[in-house]
């Protein structure tokens, strides 16, 4: 069978799973007064449509920042504005200032889900297809299998089409950035990534590798000649993109400061809820949240993040090729997730460890189905296409048992949060293991058969 038909079958399967998951509940469904992320997105449409730009990030009589105030960069706000225009055409009640708070209806849900699907098809899915086509090694069936696994990845599906968010936009744009760099189109890549950064500040997790890779590449080309020129072009692209995105906010110096204040809420503390990173896990043994002052916490998290990210970044700077770049992306995001300030569990987008959140949203069934399907499919394809017998097979029943435990057993009364905490700690240990492993791989570069192909 030809490649195009296999790829289109993968896309169709991916889209079908996405839309089928969207039939289920969303975050905060039927839960006044605050509801959830779904209501937050609807509220942003209301705010951006009805209020002038300079009021979007400020606390005014019309804009109560305590009720889901905007806390993403301007591109999200513009996206909400566009959606709001469409919403106004379909049913003005959906974005009525104040009156539409907590609006819930079947047709509105369809509209919101449709907006996610639309941006997914526009941005994320083409990026995945191109990535698998150009940058996966192996013969064509392996590329198709990779595409299928990526498209069926439960974490993204459940968060975007269940809980409700637009991660596919920022991830898709970041992926376009990676594609651009891989194809040698540095300017396009920088543009795409800057847009991703301006959509969700979480993309900062990936920013250092991009920076180091491009800088390293320019240095290699000679800082006195072509390299310098290239560096200038890239910096100009980035600055202009930033300026364009932030243009409405540059008129008054107070504006960008307020936006930054909303984006990086250092006042909220080291962590919230149960998240699988160092601080939350450490807190079980030593109550660092109360023991240390806020400034010390900030300093500690900054220092440790830097410590863990430095080796990988320096290595990338010295050897700017694609393989190093990919590994650096992994290491950088892991480091940020594990050690930075105010991390939310969604930042990791790893399905197995987001169970508590999804159960709260009423998404147990799609979670179980998509995770099992993904695990089975990826293990099956892995064993068949690479002809190896991974010891990963023991992992599958282990995860199933731990999920089952969480769902069916009642925790002891003295420790009502026992299971979420256990899940978090377990996940944390996994991630710690991953970051050590991947750092070792990147730094030591064990014997690889296709290392020649990857150099840029």
């Amino acid at each position: 069978m030809e490649n195009w038909s296999l790829f289109s079958l993968c896309v169709l399967l991916g889209l079908t799973s996405r839309w089928a998951v969207s039939f289920h509940s969303y975050s905060g469904a039927g839960k006044p007064p605050m509801f959830g992320d779904y209501e937050a997105q609807r509220h942003w449409q209301e705010v951006t449509y009805n209020l002038p730009v300079h009021e979007w990030y400020f606390n005014t009589t019309n804009n109560d920042l305590n009720y889901w105030g905007l806390d993403y960069p301007p591109l999200t706000a513009y996206h909400s504005l566009v959606c709001a225009y469409v919403a106004k055409l379909l049913n003005p009640e959906w974005v009525e200032l104040h009156a539409s708070r907590g609006y819930e209806s079947h047709s509105h849900k369809l509209f919101m889900r449709a907006t996610v699907l639309f941006t997914d098809i526009l941005i994320y899915i083409p990026a995945v297809l191109l990535y698998c086509f150009y940058f996966c090694d192996g013969f064509s069936k392996q590329k198709v299998a990779t595409a299928l696994c990526i498209l069926l990845y439960p974490g993204l599906i459940l968060i975007d089409y269940g809980h409700f968010q637009y991660n596919s936009v920022s991830l898709g744009l970041a992926l376009w950035g990676i594609l651009g760099l891989g194809l040698g189109w540095d300017l396009f890549g920088s543009l795409a990534f800057t847009l991703a950064l301006n959509y969700k500040q979480m993309e900062l997790y990936h920013s250092l590798p991009f920076f180091c890779y491009l800088l390293g590449k320019c240095i290699k080309q000679g800082l006195i000649g072509r390299g310098f020129f290239q560096l200038a072009k890239i910096s100009l692209t980035v600055l202009v993109t930033f300026a364009l995105c932030w243009m409405p906010f540059l008129s008054d110096p107070k504006q960008p400061l307020q936006v930054l204040h909303r984006l990086f809420p250092f006042g909220r503390g080291l962590f919230e809820d149960k998240v699988a990173n160092t601080w939350c896990s450490l807190n079980v043994l030593i109550k660092i949240k109360t023991l240390l002052s806020r400034e010390t916490q900030l300093f500690l998290s900054f220092a440790l993040t830097l410590l863990f990210i430095l080796p990988s970044s320096l290595k990338l700077l010295s050897k700017p090729n694609l393989w190093q770049f990919k590994l650096a992306l992994v290491n950088s995001s892991l480091a940020f997730f594990l050690f930075s300030f105010q991390v939310h569990e969604k930042s990791i987008l790893l399905a197995a460890f987001m169970l508590p959140l999804l159960v709260k949203d009423g998404l147990l069934l799609p979670y179980v189905v998509t995770s099992l399907a993904f695990l089975f499919l990826s293990l099956y394809l892995l064993s068949h296409l690479t002809r190896t017998n991974e010891p990963l097979f023991w992992y599958f029943p282990f995860l199933v048992i731990s999920v089952a435990t969480f769902v069916w057993l009642e925790p002891p009364a003295k420790f009502p949060d026992l299971f979420p905490v256990l899940v978090s700690i377990l996940s944390f240990l996994h991630f710690l293991g991953f970051i050590i492993y991947f750092n070792l791989v990147q730094l030591m570069e064990p014997q690889r058969k296709k290392s020649q192909k990857k150099t840029n």
Binding site: E2, A20, F23, S107, V369, F376, H384
Partner: protein, 503 residues
């Protein structure tokens, strides 16, 4: 490049496909379900609460029991498991009861019952004449498995609209497989069981009858009759059961206009009456007020063309399948000839039958899949019939939420069947000629007009039935074409060199 398929893991792909489609079905648990959901809930309730003698008399709900006794027993068995999910669904008075536990149980029962279908498909794969392929995706057994397990019509009708067709077609396909494997007694037994589960399979009973009679001694026919009579001895009042099973008071066309001959006939009648009034050939006051355009199922009179009675449709159906039956009688072509005749009987009954539901097209499409992976001409007929037939199921899912799902799934099935069959029969030119390809492509503008453009026009209020009518007419053309081609292939095919071994 060749993908290495490990010889030891020969059948694991089957398991992967089955598991994959089951996962998809689980995700669709929350989708729209039709009144058939309530129908089956009602049957769970009444078989659980009442003694068997009263099952066919119970009429609290409008959805009376209209399947044969064996299916009623099946529901009775299910009701005992239903107790553990939600006892309230088993109360007959709880009309339209649909708690989350009820939905979960009923949906899971369909998904689990599909295991019968999985087994039958596995058996059918063993019956393929040759199963060699350069790589897995090109093997006839793989293609057949996907065409059957991931059949668009079955997924849509069973797991969204809600019915138990997977389980029933499993029994049918198993019966066919047994005939291929020369285990004829089991095949006949399975078919009699099937008839007692759903009487719609009477459509294909003639094929079975002629084939079995022709190929085996008359003296053995008594053995085949007895399983049927044994199953029927279930202390049930026969006339009452029959009156529920064959409700001829319902109209010529089902509410959603199956794309058969009578739909074309009705259109022609309507067109003639409009033209007649326009050209003053008919008096408008003398015309009966036909309400065939609404969704109601009633008897109605035709205005210009002669009215059609149930007997007339029966005669037409019998006439349409008679040539095929004669052919099989005179020159039985083994199990494959029987299968071809079966498909023709199913299609003939679909085309000319009384109150045919569009779902009945599956009875022709599913068995045809077996023939499609073995012969080029059958593959071509299968493509036309399946794409058209599946598209004609669209009106069953009319909600906006299910619109993307039905389009995506139809595209999935269509792209797979087109490319895999094309690759399988790549020697010998294109599979579809330009006319056929254009016809199939014409479904795209048809869909756009019916579901996207038309609802936004003014005519939506005055002629709400127009999209249904257009769909029905367009698909009827494809179905008729497939029927004719299938007949031609039956009547012109040469004898098989293999002789049937009598037991």
């Amino acid at each position: 490049t060749v993908m290495a398929a490990p010889v030891t893991n020969d059948q694991s792909w089957f398991f992967a496909l089955a598991l994959g489609v089951s996962f998809l079905k689980c995700l669709l648990i929350n989708a729209y379900h039709s009144t058939d959901f309530e129908v089956h809930r009602n049957w769970l309730a009444l078989t659980h609460s009442l003694p068997a003698a009263q099952w066919y008399y119970e009429a609290t709900s409008e959805w009376t029991l209209d399947y044969p006794p064996l299916f009623a027993w099946f529901e009775y068995g299910l009701s005992h498991i239903a107790r553990f999910f939600d006892k309230e669904m088993l109360v007959v008075q709880n009309l339209n009861y649909a708690s989350p536990a009820t939905i979960l149980f009923q949906r899971l029962s369909v998904i689990v019952a599909d295991v019968v279908f999985f087994y039958a498909v596995k058996e059918c794969c063993k019956c393929l004449r040759e199963d060699k392929g350069k790589y897995l995706l090109g093997k006839p057994s793989f293609i057949l498995t996907v065409l059957l397990l991931w059949n668009f019509g079955l997924i849509i009708v069973d797991h969204i609209h809600f019915q138990y067709n997977g389980f029933l077609f499993g029994v049918l396909l198993l019966s066919i497989a047994r005939h291929f494997q020369n285990r004829h007694f089991e095949g006949a037994l399975l078919f009699s069981i099937l008839l007692n589960l759903k009487h719609i399979y009477l459509y294909i009973a003639p094929a079975y009858g002629i084939y079995l009679l022709r190929c085996f001694c008359f003296t053995q026919s008594n053995i085949y009759a007895s399983p049927e009579s044994r199953i029927n001895k279930l202390s049930i009042d026969l006339p009452q059961v029959l009156s529920r099973l064959f409700p001829f008071k319902r109209g010529l066309c089902h509410a959603y206009w199956a794309p058969n001959i009578w739909a074309l006939y009705n259109i022609a009648d309507k067109a003639f009456s409009i033209l007649g009034v326009k050209f003053k050939l008919l008096d408008i006051n003398k015309l009966p007020k036909a309400s065939m355009t609404g969704g109601l199922v009633q008897e109605f009179q035709h205005s210009v063309l002669p009215s059609v009675s149930p007997l007339a449709t029966l005669v037409c159906t019998v006439l349409s399948i008679l040539p095929a039956l004669f052919r099989i009688w005179h020159r039985p072509n083994g199990a494959r000839g029987f299968l071809r005749c079966l498909v023709i009987c199913a299609l003939g009954s679909f085309m000319f039958g009384w109150h045919v539901h569009e779902k009945a097209i599956l009875m022709a499409i599913l068995p045809l899949s077996l023939l499609a992976v073995e012969s080029r001409e059958d593959a071509r007929i299968f493509l036309i019939l399946s794409i058209t037939g599946h598209y004609s199921l669209f009106p069953l899912l009319f909600t906006t939420q299910e619109l993307p799902i039905k389009i995506l799934l139809l595209l999935l099935f269509t792209i797979f069947s087109l490319t895999s069959l094309k690759t399988l029969f790549r020697s010998g030119g294109a599979l579809l000629n330009p006319l056929e390809a254009t016809y199939l492509l014409g479904l795209i503008p048809l869909e756009l007009i019916c579901e996207f453009v038309y609802p936004l026009t003014v005519w939506q209020k005055t002629f709400p039935f127009l999209p249904l009518m257009l769909t029905s007419i367009y698909c009827a053309l494809g179905v008729t074409y497939a029927f004719i081609r299938l007949y031609i292939s039956l009547l012109t095919c040469s004898d098989s060199t293999k002789k049937i071994k009598t037991q």
